[in-house]
């Protein structure tokens, strides 16, 4: 078990209700230091509410949270000294240039030396690829440029914890790629806690994942653990021809727990969930091919992607309601 000192964020029964609507229900989140932690959930799940609570932008209805060892209600000023935050749709002062925006932020943390502050600003503009646009008013910035400026301003103070709310949302593939690269490059410097609903990105850069649905935390684990999961082993088959008899034979086997079928372009796709993988491995093919009615085009162990796990957990949580 990890102690609270090892967590950048530790919440305990954190809840938030707005006029009777429960936006967040009893969340106990543990974000280890120096991890890239993805906070997943469909729109309206409560991700942004959680982030706002951590930053003191809104107050919890009940529960508590500790960020970098400090209580969010009592020591929020100190928390914000050591945190960098990128909002979902970052909005800065449109009359300022990118450099002036970073200077404005830097002056909220540091009073000098001025040359070092300017050096830090120039470095961050370079990291996020905005050197050539640094002295233009941000009014004309594209969504991707604004997002990159957002990441730069979040890093001005060398934060121990970076909180990014949907950092890649609304970006084109190139913009997304750049944001992910920046996040990966910051791995050694900060803990990164980011919310997203883009699952491909999560699998690529994150160490740990928490899944939120309708204000409830429904899973929280290292990403490998979640992918290995507690789910049953499943095999996938792609077939052609008459599959009816093979389907009947398999469905009567005690080691087969479920068969899901999908037909596409004259081909049949099965996902066969089993509770005895060794029996399944030996017998599935022979049983399918027994009467010669079906031809097997593809056969293998089903590899679950994060998307499968996410959909299954979210749908399961919806059904529990």
């Amino acid at each position: 078990m990890q102690s609270n000192d090892e967590y950048a964020i530790a919440t305990n029964g954190l809840s938030k209700a707005y006029n009777g609507f429960i936006a967040l229900n009893n969340i106990s989140l543990k974000v280890p230091k120096k991890s890239i932690f993805a906070f997943l959930g469909p729109n309206g799940a409560g991700k942004t509410t959680t982030i706002k609570l951590l930053l003191g932008l809104t107050r919890p209805t009940s529960g508590s949270a500790v960020v970098l060892g400090r209580n969010i209600l009592e020591d929020n000023d100190q928390i914000r000294q050591n945190v960098g935050y990128l909002a979902q749709n970052p909005k800065f002062y449109s009359n300022l240039t990118a450099r002036e925006t970073l200077r404005f932020v830097a002056c909220l943390f540091f009073k000098g030396p001025k040359d070092m502050i300017e050096e830090r600003i120039a470095y961050l503009l370079k990291v996020v690829g905005l050197e050539d646009k640094s002295d233009r008013p941000i009014d004309g910035f594209s969504g991707g440029e604004m997002q990159r400026l957002g990441i730069a301003q979040a890093q001005v103070n060398f934060p121990e914890l970076l909180i990014l709310d949907e950092p890649a949302a609304g970006l084109d593939p190139h913009g997304r790629e750049q944001v992910l690269k920046i996040m990966e490059s910051l791995r050694s410097e900060s803990t990164i806690f980011y919310s997203t609903h883009i699952l491909n990105d999560v699998q690529r850069v994150s160490d740990r994942v928490a899944i939120l649905n309708k204000g409830n935390l429904i899973a929280q684990a290292p990403i490998e653990e979640l992918l290995a999961g507690t789910r049953e082993v499943a095999y996938s088959l792609e077939l052609e021809g008459d599959t009816q008899q093979a389907y009947t034979r398999l469905s009567h086997e005690s080691w087969v727990t479920a068969i899901s079928e999908r037909k596409e372009n004259g081909r049949t796709h099965w996902i066969i969930n089993v509770n005895d993988p060794s029996k399944a491995k030996k017998r599935i093919l022979s049983m399918v091919l027994a009467d010669g009615g079906a031809e097997v085009l593809d056969f293998g162990l089903k590899q679950y992607e994060l998307e499968d796990i996410f959909m299954s957990l979210v749908e399961g949580s919806d059904n529990d309601d």
Partner: protein, 248 residues
């Protein structure tokens, strides 16, 4: 480069971020052409009236019509500028962004009130006031400079009451109409209430009458000035209290 080479800000409590916010607000006003545009606009408006009324020797002319205009038109501009100051930052998300930094909500709000005091007063009343004085000099009708400055003070306070009220409403409401309805009501009714001999001297609505009394030599109670100062302080306190409770 590491964090250790930087000198951290050591200010704590309600003053956190105040100097940076102030610099930002004053730069946005005086560092752009907006201060000059307003100075020219309101000088122009008051000149239109002043050029006709100042040389006129009749008792209802002179600087009297200028006072009436100064008590109505620049405050309209101040209300319109003030409603955006907090409301826009709440709507666009820039307030949420900046408050995620180590700053106090009090300093965020105070910087807006300070801009409304310094920036609006200079551009919308002091510069136009100077222009009107110069016109009076040209026509050989210039009042005593000390008396003239004293005559401007109630007008400045009146504009401050209306812009502070608008800023305060901006901390409560999310819509422009809700934010501006009370200040505009006070502006439109205030001039009439100020004429009332019973309640006129006991609220900010009596301020323009004090300005007029400097011109006419009448005696008018000083209470509107005292009440207005108290109202200004209360409006700041209420705005700070409300904004500290605001949830983003």
């Amino acid at each position: 480069m590491t964090k250790d080479v930087f000198e951290p800000i050591t200010v704590t409590g309600w003053r956190m971020g105040l100097s940076t916010f102030l610099k930002k607000e004053l730069k946005a006003w005086f560092g752009s052409s907006i201060w000059l545009k307003h100075a020219l606009l309101w000088s122009g408006v008051l000149c239109l009236v002043g050029l006709q009324s100042i040389p006129d020797p009749s008792p209802d002319a002179g600087l009297l019509p200028v006072v009436m205009m100064a008590a109505i038109f620049p405050p309209i501009g101040a209300i319109i500028l003030s409603y955006e100051m907090i409301l826009d930052e709440k709507k666009t998300g820039s307030a949420e962004w900046v408050l995620s930094k180590p700053v106090s909500r009090t300093s965020f709000i105070l910087s807006k009130f300070i801009l409304a005091t310094i920036g609006y007063t200079i551009s919308m009343l002091l510069i136009p006031g100077l222009v009107i004085y110069l016109i009076s000099l040209t026509f050989g009708m210039a009042p005593n400079i000390f008396g003239y400055l004293m005559f401007l003070v109630p007008l400045i306070l009146w504009q401050m009451v209306l812009s502070f009220l608008t800023l305060c409403m901006g901390t409560f409401f999310e819509k422009a109409s809700s934010t501006m309805i009370l200040p505009f009501t006070l502006l439109l009714l205030g001039i009439n209430i100020g004429e009332d001999p019973i309640i006129g001297p006991f609220g900010p609505w009596g301020l323009y009458k004090i300005s007029i009394s400097f011109l006419t030599g009448e005696n008018y109670p000083i209470y509107p000035v005292i009440v207005s100062c108290i109202v200004l302080i209360l409006l700041v306190v209420i705005a700070v209290w409300r904004f500290r409770k605001h949830e983003f």
